[in-house]
């Protein structure tokens, strides 16, 4: 399931809804991305997440489909926020549920790695020197790249 929203989310309630009644699930791996107050040397006051409505949902649904093809997953949830977020706020939740924990871990990591290089979101940081668009990181490309070697 994919959700792109401005509002915050409750991780406990989301995971509960995701797994309720599915008693074949042995493990749920989740990743939550938070806004940090530093990025490299820069202090960050807040950031604004811009996205491409429509394409975002399509890309996330494609990524979810790819994960379901690769691993035996009982449930998948991706929630990504947009708008202005302050340090400590939640940006993204990725959760995967499977009978076995290794599939849940691998799929969760695959989803966040791919999301970071495919989903059309852009971060504008508020710094003491003014607003600054975040550069894409080579480390994110490398993280996504390892999933293409399979």
């Amino acid at each position: 399931m994919i959700r792109v929203q401005c509002e915050d989310f409750d991780i406990g309630a989301e995971l509960e809804a995701l797994t309720r009644g599915k008693t074949g699930i042995g493990g749920v791996t989740s990743f939550v991305g938070l806004v940090r107050d530093v990025a490299g040397e820069r202090r960050i006051g807040a950031m604004t997440l811009e996205h491409y409505p429509g394409m975002t949902e399509r890309q996330l649904a494609d990524i979810e489909g790819e994960a379901r093809r690769r691993w035996p997953l009982e449930a998948v949830l991706i929630i990504h926020r947009y708008g202005r977020l302050e340090p400590g706020e939640r940006i993204v939740l990725v959760a995967t549920a499977s009978a076995h924990r290794q599939a849940a871990f691998d799929a969760c990591q695959f989803l966040i790695d791919w999301l970071k290089t495919k989903a059309p979101f852009w971060k504008l940081e508020e710094t003491p020197e003014g607003p600054r668009w975040v550069d894409a990181q080579a480390s994110d490309d490398e993280a996504a790249q390892r999933w293409t070697k399979d």
Partner: protein, 83 residues
């Protein structure tokens, strides 16, 4: 053709969304980029380094040689930084 710009591409060009009718010979994404660069200094500056320009046609990533039709929604944006 509908054009969308995001993030610092949008900021440098100064337009979020526009409808254009490029000449019939603009048949690929690469040709469109060249044509856009000629529309003014904001475009030329924003699109000068194609290595940091990503293109989606009808909300799917495409390469430089992707063909274009008048009904397409074409989005130009920098590498993504979400998550």
């Amino acid at each position: 053709m509908k054009l969308l710009y995001f993030a610092w591409l949008r900021a440098r060009i100064g337009i979020a969304e526009e409808r254009i009718e490029p000449p019939a010979e603009i048949a690929t994404v690469a040709a469109l980029l060249d044509w856009l660069r000629g529309r003014g200094p904001g475009f030329a500056e924003a699109l000068k380094d194609a290595r940091v320009v990503r293109v989606a046609v009808n909300q799917e990533y495409v390469g430089w040689d992707h063909p274009l039709r008048p009904s397409d929604e074409v989005a130009l944006f920098p590498p993504v930084t979400g998550g």
